[in-house]
């Protein structure tokens, strides 16, 4: 059974309280004002707003923190709820032979991670099963004696059960469920209590002297700060979500094996660590072939996008008549809004076959290739590069142009000798930003670069198919049946993690260059 009071319900009550608080607070302040005119420090509606904020904000913040924190807390709880001597998290005796202490330790850690994942999955499955009205809490306890039917029942109901259920797993899962229930009960109650306290206190505080306006301004300032930090917080949340699995992966597989591995060949798509394996993983998960594919395609894309985009920008900002500019610039910017999947389709059905027809099937066995994806990605980036370059070229002061033209330079000389050198840092910044987009680009490469699941070494042929970092992430995470505990899936987090840092680094470089450029003319 679930808690009676849930967050949505509390949210509704808090909203009602806030509305009531506004009316009551405003009325109260108005009465004071009527009794003693001109003594009220703040206007009645400011008093009303103060009640609204004091009622709603602490409760809302509490609910957010609670909702976010309860996941973390219950994770910690599961970890502590696993008995040390549970067989599920021990390396079986017969497998210990020939392993060092350290190796055993690492393996036990892996087992624990997997066990925690299974327990959480099972808890969710049981919750779902009960919520669907198939059983009561008592039934679950009754079925404890024989686990196979329980597993079948859960599966029959459409619940996802990864590993086979063990006694230890069920015990910990039930513990976890009880803990979660407690959290789900306490949270909304506490939130409601907070709202009521805020409501009462703020209504009582209303008096002629109370500086409601200043308090309200502070609330609003808080809002603004919150809004501005939200994107940063989200980034941190994303990062933390991929960091933990990535680190697990690095520890299990080895950072160097991953970063400098020359092949990508996941062993299986279901459960990662094969039973009875003897030390080595069957999956070979090297980063190099994937980043090679990514960088190769990005290079081709930039070779297409940078000259075209830059020349387009030079034309538009320096040579085009007003009329041409008024039409071409928006048209280019519209191109930037075309969904990348559409570019991908274009690559797959038009550019790929065209390239194959041109270079021949011996050089280009498939329509998917580095060139197919790269050329189309380059076209996608043209408006991006041209728009950014156009901005930096326009930012070069008119005085530079006048100075050059006034010396008898032609327009072409002015562009190549004065404008472009002056805009160069900004243009380089634009190119780096484009590169970081190319590296992170997914849909085009999924459709047009190749979809091999195994790659050995680095493909040198620009007309050969390659596999990119993003393609692999998509393939593994959308593939069916793989649990989040398999080494192949963990590897994907490591891919995302590494990719994040590569693009982050590129963006930082770009930003610094652009900033350096800005300094020059301020």
């Amino acid at each position: 059974m679930g808690a009676v009071l849930t967050f949505p319900l509390v949210l509704l009550i808090v909203t009602a309280l806030a509305v009531a608080g506004y009316i009551l607070g405003r009325g109260r302040a108005a009465r004071i004002a009527a009794a003693a005119p001109r003594t009220l420090h703040s206007r009645p509606n400011q008093h009303g707003w103060h009640v609204v904020f004091a009622t709603a904000i602490p409760a809302l913040i509490f609910m957010m923190v609670w909702a976010f924190g309860s996941g973390v807390v219950s994770n910690i709880y599961v970890g502590s709820a696993i008995p040390e001597d549970l067989v599920d998290v021990q390396v079986p005796f017969q497998q210990r032979e020939g392993l060092t202490e350290r190796e055993i330790e690492i393996r036990e850690e892996v087992l624990r991670t997997q066990f925690v994942a299974s327990v959480k999955g099972l808890a969710v499955a049981i919750d779902g099963y009960i919520a669907n009205g198939n059983a009561t809490e008592a039934d679950i306890e009754r079925w404890r004696a024989d686990l196979a039917p329980l597993q079948d029942r859960l599966r029959a109901d459409g619940q996802v059960v990864g590993a086979s259920i063990t006694q230890g797993m069920l015990t910990v899962a039930q513990d976890l469920r009880a803990f979660n229930r407690a959290i789900a009960t306490i949270g909304p109650l506490a939130a409601l209590a907070l709202a009521l306290i805020g409501f009462g206190l703020s209504l009582r505080a209303i008096s002629a002297e109370f500086r409601a306006r200043i308090a309200v301004e502070r609330w609003v300032l808080g809002f603004l700060v919150f809004a501005s930090t939200m994107a940063i917080l989200t980034t941190i949340a994303i990062l933390s979500a991929i960091t933990v699995p990535s680190i697990t992966f690095f520890r299990e597989y080895g950072l160097f094996n991953f970063l400098f591995g020359m092949a990508w060949a996941p062993a299986g798509d279901v459960v990662g660590i094969p039973e009875g394996r003897d030390g080595a993983y069957e999956s070979v998960l090297g980063f190099l072939p994937l980043i090679w594919g990514t960088l190769y395609i990005s290079l081709v894309a930039l070779l297409v996008a940078v000259p075209l985009g830059l020349l387009a920008a030079v034309y538009l900002s320096e040579f085009a008549s007003k009329w041409v500019r008024a039409w071409v610039k928006p048209a280019l910017e519209i191109l930037a809004g075309v969904p990348t999947i559409v570019y991908g389709i274009f690559a797959l059905i038009t550019i790929g076959p065209f390239l194959q027809a041109v270079v021949g099937a011996t050089v280009m066995p498939n329509t998917v290739s580095v060139m197919t994806a790269g050329v189309v990605m380059g076209m996608m980036l043209v408006p991006f590069v041209s728009s950014l370059s156009d901005d930096v070229i326009n930012a070069v002061p008119q005085a530079m142009r006048d100075g050059s033209l006034g010396l008898g330079a032609t327009q072409a000389e002015t562009v190549t000798k004065v404008i472009l050198p002056a805009a160069l840092p900004g243009i380089v910044g634009a190119v780096v930003l484009a590169a970081s987009r190319a590296i992170g680009e997914t849909m085009i490469v999924v459709l047009a670069a190749g979809a091999l699941s195994n790659v050995q070494g680095l493909e040198p042929n620009p007309f050969g198919a390659v596999v990119t970092v993003t393609t692999r992430i998509v393939a593994v995470l959308t593939g069916e049946g793989s649990g989040f505990d398999s080494i192949d899936v963990l590897a994907v987090f490591a891919l995302a993690f590494t990719l994040f840092f590569i693009t982050l680094g590129l963006n930082l470089v770009a930003q610094r260059m652009v900033a350096k450029y800005r300094e020059q003319y301020d």
């Binding site: 002061p397 006048d402 100075g403 006034g406 008898g408 330079a409 032609t410 050198p421 002056a422």
Partner: protein, 265 residues
């Protein structure tokens, strides 16, 4: 104001370098310059004075067709440089501007080294056959702009790193390096402090030896100090044009008198 010096400086009749007849300038529908006739003499400093928006800068920019870069600007009438109409279809504005150099209100050195700033013009016009010749042009131009001693040890430093006054002298050196025949200066001292202003003014006086200089200025003292001829513009009309000493001591038009005595502006 040094009236004594002014009257001393008797001006002999010299060759006419630029002859403007019935010049009209329109910005879209706005009639910015009306019927201006001016003769600019060779080896003379001619000052254009007048209140803001009177059209003096606009007229200056007509003399080397810098107004061509403004789409909505239209110029009518004749401007004859050495007997050739500069608005004739056969005239290439690029060649014209090599002959009629320009220094702008705000110092606008290119984001290049001091050397490259000065060498820019000679390079694009192919004025030197080798590096040694180019070095010589750069040095002599910087010397003429009275900047050589201050920068000779750091020719590779960026031109944008100089002080405002030095930057403006660098821009003058840059204009001088192309060996123009006429030098147009659009309020060249308005962004400078008094010391830098004095240096630039001294420079203008020296440049008069070899060029015809036209200077737009808001400072009547400056016009009196540096020029031999003065043209007073008001609301797009050329009100009075003549010897600087005469304009400042005995103007014919009441508007000129009002302006130089500070009653209109």
């Amino acid at each position: 104001m040094n009236d004594m010096r002014m009257t001393e400086r008797g001006v002999n009749t010299k060759d006419i370098k630029i002859e403007a007849r019935k010049v009209q300038v329109f910005y879209g529908a706005n009639h910015a310059i009306k019927d201006v006739d001016v003769d600019i003499e060779d080896k003379t400093v001619t000052a254009f004075i007048g209140p803001s928006g009177c059209g003096k800068s606009t007229f200056l920019r007509c003399l080397n067709r810098m107004n061509d870069t403004i789409d909505i600007c239209r110029v009518e009438g004749d401007i004859i440089l050495d007997g050739e109409d500069i608005y004739d279809k056969r005239v290439d504005p690029v060649q014209l501007r090599a002959k009629v150099g320009m220094v702008f209100q705000k110092p606008n050195p290119f984001p290049k080294s001091i050397y490259d700033n000065v060498a820019y013009g000679p390079k694009i016009h192919g004025l030197s056959r080798n590096k040694a010749e180019l070095d010589e042009i750069v040095e002599s131009s910087l010397r003429r702009a009275a900047l050589w001693n201050e920068v000779k040890d750091r020719l590779d430093a960026p031109g944008t790193g100089l002080s405002g006054g030095q930057q403006q002298r660098l821009c003058i050196a840059r204009a001088v390096a192309t060996s123009p025949e006429v030098l147009l200066m659009d309020e060249p001292c308005s962004a400078l402090d008094p010391i830098a202003t004095a240096q630039v003014e001294e420079l203008i006086d020296e440049l008069r030896q070899s060029y015809s200089v036209v200077i737009v200025t808001h400072s009547m003292q400056q016009a009196a100090r540096v020029s031999q001829k003065t043209a007073f513009f008001h609301l797009g009309n050329l009100v009075e044009f003549g010897e600087t000493s005469k304009i400042f001591t005995n103007p014919e038009d009441p508007r000129t008198e009002s302006y130089i005595t500070g009653r209109i502006g």
